[in-house]
Structure formats: C-alpha cells, structure tokens
C-alpha cells in the first residue's frame, strides 16, 4: 500500500509538531489528495471562519499514486478555505515536491493556527523543524529557494514557498514549488502567508515501498504509459506545444475570451500561440521555447521552459531574467495575452516569470488587469489610481509595469491584488468583473463553449476550467464529440466531467492524463498499488461524493445556489465574431437539469436521498 499512514500536524500558533495515523476509512471513501484533505478540512474547521485567520487550516496532501512511477503521479494539492472566494479551495501542483513528501515518510501535512513570527518548515524524513524565517520574509520565491538550497547545501531539497505578493495580501497568491510549478488558484498562498509560513523545504530519503502487488503494478503502469505515448494529444501535441496547443484552436472556434470578454476572438492569437513559441525570434534567431519539461513520473512532459529574447525591453537591465525558466501555458498566455489584447510573446513570458517569482495566479492576475483596463478605458479609474500607468488594452508596457507592482504588492498593484470582483466594486463597476464566486474565468468563453458556462457557474471553487473540463468533449472530441454551441446534453456532460475530475484530482495523477486515460485505465494502477477494489464506476461515485462534500462545505460557508451564476455580459452580450457569433451562454436552460441530475433541490442543496446514497451523513 502506497500510503505511509502518517500525517504531520503542525500547530503554528504553538510551534507544536505532532504525527498521527492517516484516517484510512476516509481514504477508502475519498481516494486521497483532494477528496481526502477536503474531508479533513470539512471535519476540522468551521466553514464560516475567516480564511485568513488562525481558525483556517492549510493542508498539503498527496494521493495514493503520488511518488510512484504511474505516469503523471507526482501531484499534490493544497486544500484550505479560500480568501478569494470564501469557498473550499483545492489547488493542485506538479513538479517534484509531492513525491518528496511521500519519500520523507508522510502522506499529508496539516498546518493549523498562525505563527507569531515568520517561519519556514524544514522536513528531512522524520526530522521536522519550524525555523524562524526573519531573513526570508520579504524575499521572492526564487530568492527564498536559493537561500534555502544554499543553507542546507542540498541540491535535492524540494521547496514550496510564497512570494511577496502573498505577504502583501494579494488575494490570489499561489504556492510555488520547484521554482515554476504552482498550486496556483484561489489564494492558497495568501492563506500560507497569513499563517506566517514562508516556505516548506522537504528532503525525503526513505522512499516509497509497500506496493501491494508489484508485478501487477508495474504491468498496469506500463500499460498506462503505452496508452499515453500512443495518444495524439498526450503523445504528440502536448509534448510539442504544451497546453498552448489550444491557443489557435480555441481562437478559431470563437471561444477565446478577449479584452475582458468583450470579444471572443483575438487577432494576435497566432503570435502568442504554442506554434509561435517554436519560431525563431528576430533578436537572437532562437525560439522562445527552450525545451519541454516533465513533472515527476510524467511521460507526457507538457511543461514549457522558455527565455525572453536578449535585449527585450522587459529584461534589458535585469540579468536575473536572462536565463530560461517556466514558460507560458495556455491559461497564462491567454490571461496576460488575449484577455488584455497583448500580443508580445516575450512580454507575456516575462510577466509569467514574475508570477512564478513572486507567487501569484496568472489567470486571476491577468483577468483582473483586464477588468482594470476596462475601468481605465471607461474612465472609472485614471492615471491617478494607476500611479501613472497608461493602462490601455494592448499595452505590453502597462502589463509589465502592473505585473511588477502586483508581484511586490506595491502601489496600484495592491488594487490589482484584490481580484477583479473587489477591484470593480471598489471603483463602482461590479459588472466588469469576469468572475464566478469572486474567482476569475480561465481561457474558454462560455458563449462559444456552452458546457464551460455551466461548469464555471457551478464550480466549487469559483470559475475554473479544471473542475470539469468539457472542452475535451466539446472541442477535442474526447471521449466523444459534442456540439459546443448547444446547451443540450451539457448538464450530464458537466456533472460527469466534474465527478471524474474530483476523482482524478484525488489519486496523485494529473488531469491531463485523462486526454488518453479513462477512470478504467486508472483503477488497475490504484488497485495494484494499494490493494483496493476501485472500478471506473466506483471512482466516479467517489468523485460525486467529493463534489457533494465540497458543496456542503460551501453551503455551510453561506455560498448557495444564488452564487451559481455567470456575469451578465456572458448571458446578455452576444459573441460578435466567429462560429459563436450571436450566441450568449444559455445557463438558465442548463441549471435546473443539472441540479436535478445532481440530486439537489431547485435551490441547489443536496437532498437527504443524495447524501444517503453517497454516504455523506446528514
């Protein structure tokens, strides 16, 4: 069994470190990672608590396949109550940190309370120390990473840290591990900084053994790897273009949210696409893309490593950005590109570096800047508020300036750090915020992809593509093609996608594996590892259980069916161009059927029958 059966519980207020066995009963019901930690959080905190207060908890959690060679099996999640949305939040990251938690002998780290002074957590197998972090506070993630590696003289130390944006209260601060992988969304980094925890540094040398049936496991892993290698998406498109393979595709189908979702196609899309990242640049005749990179165990390797061209205005006088680092994924390229009308690939790459360097979610950051640009263009804010920045759509210079300020939590960057809903309310135009439950939209316009509208509206952590990626079906035809422009059949599709994603996010595997794998491909890997008896069907059911658990948490937090909504713009302003021209999102046609399929009341509350069926208790 790949569980270490060990939870590390740390009370930051008291500086106490304890260990306890993992609740294996819950692991059976909630699989691991997202599901399991959500159960812990729901049991342990009051959903109405202040997300940035000591009553909130922050949980780092692995899945049963984290740290194994099951392809993509390196994920960990951070589960907490979100300061951005007030909902339960689960942000999930790859890189190499998750396996290190396992190799050090732990399954989960629960952080409670709030440290009286800045600290970092050092874990070397069973040795666990809270160390004063006075010297680290005020540093960027990258500087903190360097400082810790230097101190411990251990290149293999794995580090997750928050940057200056989190320290300054940016509400969508992320936790960055391995320099450029992030538990990105919903402000999990803000919670960590509020607890005065600057970083977690982990070294594990114990490893992961106890595979239930090693022979069957290696066979299942090999079979899984083969499917990924032979699949067009996971075997060819993703390694070559990364998620950026989508930029041109989504633009062509007219679902590219552009200039704060006023348009659905971006004329500069091809200049910031995955294909463009391969094109030699004028400045140095080298492409933006240096190489692809895998997270631990991943045989897809969709990650991007990029450079900004020498002499580019963003880095001319900043040698620290001259080397390669984590490059643009589709979401970040969209949020800072199409959403703002900026088509300077290297400028986007640079601001993406800033997002990694100081730990902020590029989606919420970019989308909030988009809202700010609309405020600026309508004179709701002026240079007086922006500190002199000419914040017009299309301005790479404005993006870069506001990026620096937000990363450091300075000047107008403080306003941008509020997120779009709070920013737009502050300046009197709540209708400019393209968000659900205060979290900004990602890169799929629900007018051109109807199912995503329902997915956004009902997502348990606010607008999010990963909570139910119907793009797979509506655009890519996985597992089967549906028409993106019709609302029909979408409630069922959304529910299935949400439940499946809840399951996959709980295993230690990456969502991208499901471009090729179904839950039936995942079950044998889990079973051989843990001696469990999962089937695709049972995993779906566990996913549904997790979804309803999260829903219950949100309801208790005061977030109800009324919040399952989309901004007016998407419901009333029709798409102006492309295949979706004339369309709005037909949310109201989908919502009642969705609630019904979920077994919820018309107000969006799980019925007794549903709770009983899923074993959720009253």
């Amino acid at each position: 069994m790949t569980w270490n059966n060990k939870v590390l519980r740390i009370n930051l207020s008291k500086g106490e470190v304890k260990d306890e066995p993992l609740n294996m009963e819950w692991a059976k019901q909630y699989i691991g990672q997202r599901g399991l930690a959500s159960k812990y959080l729901a049991e342990e905190i009051d959903p109405r608590c202040d997300a940035l207060g000591p009553e909130n908890k922050l949980i780092f959690v692995t899945g049963p396949l984290t740290g194994t060679p099951a392809s993509t099996g390196a994920r960990y999640s951070v589960v907490t109550k979100s300061p951005l949305t007030g909902t339960i939040a689960c942000s999930n990251s790859g890189g190499y940190l998750g396996p290190e938690i396992k190799y050090a002998g732990w399954d989960m780290i629960i952080l409670e309370g709030e440290s009286p002074e800045p600290v970092y957590l050092y874990i070397e197998n069973e040795r666990v120390e809270l160390v004063p972090a006075g010297e680290l506070w005020g540093k960027s993630v990258w500087d903190a990473d360097r400082w810790l590696h230097n101190k411990y003289q251990d290149p293999q130390l794995r580090i997750a840290a928050v940057g200056r944006s989190a320290e300054q209260g940016c509400l969508y601060a992320s936790i960055v591990n391995d320099l450029h992988r992030a538990a990105g969304r919903s402000g999990v980094g803000t919670v960590m900084a509020a607890k005065k925890l600057k970083a977690i540094a982990i070294r594990g040398t114990r490893g992961l053994g106890n595979i239930h049936d090693p022979k069957a496991f290696m066979q299942a892993v090999s079979a899984g790897k083969k499917i990924l290698a032979e699949n067009e998406v996971t075997g060819a498109a993703l390694p070559k273009f990364g998620t950026q393979v989508l930029m041109n595709v989504i633009n062509e189908v007219g679902a590219m949210p552009t200039r704060n979702m006023r348009e659905v196609q971006f004329d500069g899309a091809s200049k910031i696409s995955g294909e463009a990242m391969h094109e030699p640049r004028e400045a140095d005749q080298k492409p933006n893309l240096v190489t692809n990179i895998a997270c631990g165990s991943c045989t897809i390797a969709c990650g991007r490593i990029s450079t900004v061209a020498p002499g580019h205005f963003t880095i001319k006088h900043s040698p620290q950005y001259w080397g390669a680092s984590g490059g643009l994924e589709y979401e970040s390229a969209w949020a800072m590109g199409s959403a703002l009308g900026v088509d300077d690939l290297d400028a986007l790459t640079y601001v993406n570096f800033l997002c990694n360097e100081d730990g902020m979610d590029p989606i919420s950051f970019g989308a909030t800047v988009a809202a700010a640009m609309e405020l600026y263009e309508t004179d709701a804010i002026t240079k007086r508020e922006t500190g002199g920045i000419d914040l017009r759509f299309g301005s790479a210079e404005a993006l870069v300036e506001v990026g620096k300020l937000t990363a450091r939590g300075e000047g107008f960057g403080k306003d941008i750090g509020l997120g779009s809903r709070r920013l737009c309310e502050k300046y009197g135009h709540p209708e400019f915020s393209m968000s659900v439950k205060s979290q900004e939209f990602p890169a799929y316009d629900p007018r051109g992809i109807q199912g995503m509208g329902l997915g956004y509206a009902t997502s348990n952590r606010g607008a999010c593509h990963l909570r139910g990626y119907t793009v797979s079906s509506e655009i890519m035809g996985v597992p089967e093609k549906t028409d993106p422009l019709t609302p029909e059949g979408k409630p069922k599709l959304v529910k299935a996608a949400q439940d499946a994603a809840s399951a996959v996010d709980s295993t230690g595997l990456c969502a991208f594996s499901t471009f090729a794998w179904t839950l039936d491909d995942i079950a044998p890997q889990l079973n051989a590892a843990c001696g469990s008896d999962w089937t695709g069907e049972k995993l779906m059911e566990a996913g549904e259980r997790i979804w309803n658990l999260e829903r219950d948490f949100n309801l208790a937090a005061g977030i109800t069916g009324k919040d399952d909504n989309l901004p007016e713009r998407l419901l009333k302003e029709a798409a102006k161009t492309g295949p979706a021209k004339g369309k709005v999102n037909e949310l109201s046609k989908m919502m009642p059927e969705y609630y019904q399929l979920r077994g919820w009341t018309p107000e969006g509350v799980p019925t007794e029958e549903t709770r009983r069926r899923l074993g959720l208790g009253a």
Partner: protein, 428 residues
C-alpha cells in the same frame, strides 16, 4: 632467465604492484614479502574489525575465503618474512629468516610505522598503537564495554578509530595536541564542527593539550595519563595515534636517497636503478603542488603500485602526481578534503556553512581551476571534486556560478565537459 621482481611490503601498494606485474609480464617471477603473519590485509579496514562489523578475514585485501590460493593461482610468491638488509651492489636482500634473496627489480612498499611520542611510560603494557592487526586484537581485548580508554591523537588515524571505540561502549577521552581535530586534513571551521559534533554525541575531545606522562598507579594496576595541566585521566587502555612515518629503516645504510620517505622520479624509481618505491613509504609527486611528498593514503598507494609495476616491467609510464585526499566518518559525520584544501597562493575561495546542520563546503580556486576542497556532511557525488581538480577543467562561466552556489559541483563538471543548450529542436 626470467626477471625477478621482489616487493617488500604486502599492503595495497605491494599487492597491486604484484598483480600488475603478473598481468603485464607473465613470464617474470614475483616475490611478495609481508612481515606480518596474516594474509595481506588493509589497515583501512581495521576500524571496522574493531567495531565488529567484519571479522579478521573481512580486512583481507584479496579473497576472504582463501587468500593464499589467490596469490598462488596468480603465481605470486607470497612469503611471510622481513627484509633485514639490502645490498644494492649485488642486488640482493638478506631476509630475517636468513635467506638471501636476489632481485632484478625491487619495490619498496614497506609502508609506514607509527610514531612513538617521547613521553615517559609510552612503553608500558596497555599502551597500544592502532596500526597492525596485532594492535587491533590487543585493543579489542582491552576495550571492553565500560572500559576507560584514552586516545592520544585526533588526526586522521585517531578519528577513524573513534567510532569503533564508541561502538564498543568504552568511556573514551580524546587528547589532541593541535588546536583542532584533523588539523592536517580540514580547516578551523570544519575541525571545530567535528569537535562540537563529538561533544553532542557525548564524547569529550580535548584539543591544544597533550599527554605528558603515562604511569601505572591506579587501582588494580590501571594506567593513568597525565595531561599538560596536571590533570589525570585513569585508563584501562591508552591508544597512541599521534602519527606515522615512512618505514625506511631498511635503506639506512644503503645508497638509496631518502628524505621523509624514499625519493623517486616520475617513474617512481629511486636514485638507484632498479629500486622503486610505492605507497606510504614513497615521497611521490603531489598533483596539486608539483612537489614530492608522502601522502600515505589508499588511492595514492594504489596508483603508485600500478605505475611502479608498469615501469618495473619495462613499460615507461609517468606518474602525473596524485591528488591528496581523505575521507573520514566521525561518529556519522562525514568529512572529506581534496588537493589544496587550505588554499592556493593568490587563489580565491568560497565557503558555505550551516552550523546547525553540520554542513560545510569550501572550494579553493586558482585562476580558472578548482584546486582544492573540503566538505562536511556531503556524501553524494563527492568524488567529482577530485575530477574537477585533477582534470584541470577550465571552469569558464562555472567559476562564477560555483562562487554563487558551491553545491553545484556536479553541474559544473557536467556543464564543463558537455555542450548544454537548446533542446526544442528535438521535440517531435
């Protein structure tokens, strides 16, 4: 008639030389003289014998199961005897057994002998060196659980037996005359950390002091070690590990030139044609300084043995100099040093220290090269420090990177020896 090679000394240098000769000159005769009763063994392994990790046979250089057969099968004439005198004119040795043994080529691989500090009582029973298997057996007999043991010397040899003594459960006191532990291997910072580490493990190490006398006087005829300040340490056993010197007595009245050890050229031949030297007795070329000095370490003995044998067999091979290096495990804290660890003239250095974590790394540069290093707590890829020093690789931009992050030693090595650049072209 076949050429006869006589090798005096059956330590690592002697054994490797004998095996090399058999391989490259199968028709020659090889006589290997060892003056201890055991089959050729490794002094490096004695601490592990003392700690009970291995038995005596685990220390054997070759074939634990049947060492005699190993040498017999190779056609090496291994004899237990001692060379009493040397006649360089007649090219012959007189052995202690009385036999006269002629040679065509002679290899001095006599190793080293422990220094005996000139203090009263050093010859009392219960005062032992830790150098031979016989010494180790004596220590094993006396160092029972709870026994009080005084260890004189916290140099390299003293330190490698520390752990085995602690493991045997003795009550140990360590006396080092220098101002720190392993003063000839590590600097003040590392030596200080080692001492603190020992203290944390409950082991008292007294530096900058010495035993001025040993006397019998305690209860039940126990020993007492008197320190400089007059304090007295009772002891069931006193171990003298204050250093070794090359065993060159055999050459005393010969024409073979010696300094601290046997003076040799780059072929490891002495001033007398046909007489070579290897290992702890050999004052060979130091890679880092270009000077000739005695290193007394296992890898150098192995290099010497092989190169001396090649030259004895008529294959001219030049010794380019050995990098002085050491590795030590002091109660679980692992330290190593390489080359000019103390720095080069006009050199640059970078140090990174984590006192609480007992991690220390110190790199010494000269121009564009790494010339020396010390490491505490480093067990992964540590050998690359030797590689970086001995290949004299030009560090180029990696020097600056190492100055910023000295832990990137493997990256520096790989970055210097292979092209690192854009990968995007290989993406399908």
């Amino acid at each position: 008639m076949a050429m006869r090679h006589v090798i005096v000394g059956a330590g690592p240098a002697g054994v490797i030389a004998a095996e090399t000769l058999r391989a490259v000159q199968p028709e020659s005769e090889v006589v290997l003289l060892g003056d201890e009763p055991e089959p050729p063994y490794s002094r490096m392994a004695l601490p592990y014998y003392l700690s009970g990790k291995i038995d005596e046979s685990g220390t054997y250089l070759r074939s634990r199961a049947n060492p005699a057969e190993h040498y017999r099968a190779l056609g090496i004439d291994l004899r237990q005897d001692r060379a009493a005198s040397l006649d360089t004119e007649r090219r012959s040795l007189r052995l202690e057994s009385g036999e006269k043994l002629g040679y065509d080529r002679l290899l001095m691989a006599t190793g080293a002998v422990p220094l005996s500090p000139p203090i009263p009582g050093i010859d009392l029973p219960g005062v032992l060196n830790c150098w031979t298997m016989e010494d180790a057996r004596g220590i094993a007999t006396r160092a029972a659980k709870g026994a009080e043991v005084v260890l004189m010397g916290a140099g390299f040899i003293g330190c490698i037996i520390l752990e085995s003594l602690v493991r045997r459960g003795v009550r140990l006191s360590v006396i080092e005359m220098g101002d720190r532990m392993v003063p000839r291997m590590m600097d003040q910072v590392a030596g200080g950390l080692l001492k603190r580490w020992c203290g944390e493990k409950g082991l008292q190490v007294h530096t900058s002091t010495r035993v001025t006398a040993i006397r019998k006087g305690g209860k039940n005829g126990r020993l007492e070690a008197v320190l400089e300040d007059g304090s007295v340490l009772p002891a069931d056993l006193i171990i003298s590990a204050t250093g070794v010197k090359p065993a060159i007595d055999l050459l005393k009245d010969s024409r073979v030139e010696t300094d601290f050890g046997v003076l040799v050229d780059q072929r490891l031949q002495s001033n007398i044609e046909g007489i070579y030297a290897a290992g702890d007795v050999c004052q060979g070329k130091d890679f880092s300084t270009g000077q000739y000095s005695v290193q007394a370490i296992q890898p150098t003995a192995a290099e010497h043995g092989r190169i001396a044998a090649m030259n004895m067999a008529g294959k001219s091979v030049l010794h380019q100099g050995s990098v002085n290096m050491n590795v030590l495990d002091t109660l679980g804290l692992i330290s190593s040093s390489f080359g000019l660890w103390d720095g080069a003239e006009d050199g640059e250095e970078v140090k990174t220290l984590n006192e609480g974590g007992y991690r220390y790394l110190n790199l010494q540069f000269s121009g564009d090269h790494l010339v020396g290093a010390q490491a505490l707590g480093l067990t992964n890829h540590v050998g690359v420090l030797r590689g970086l020093i001995q290949t004299r690789v030009r560090l180029g931009p990696w020097k600056q990177r190492l100055l910023e992050d000295p832990t990137a030693i493997m990256e520096a090595y790989l970055g210097c020896v292979q092209p690192i650049g854009y990968n995007a072209s290989v993406l399908a």
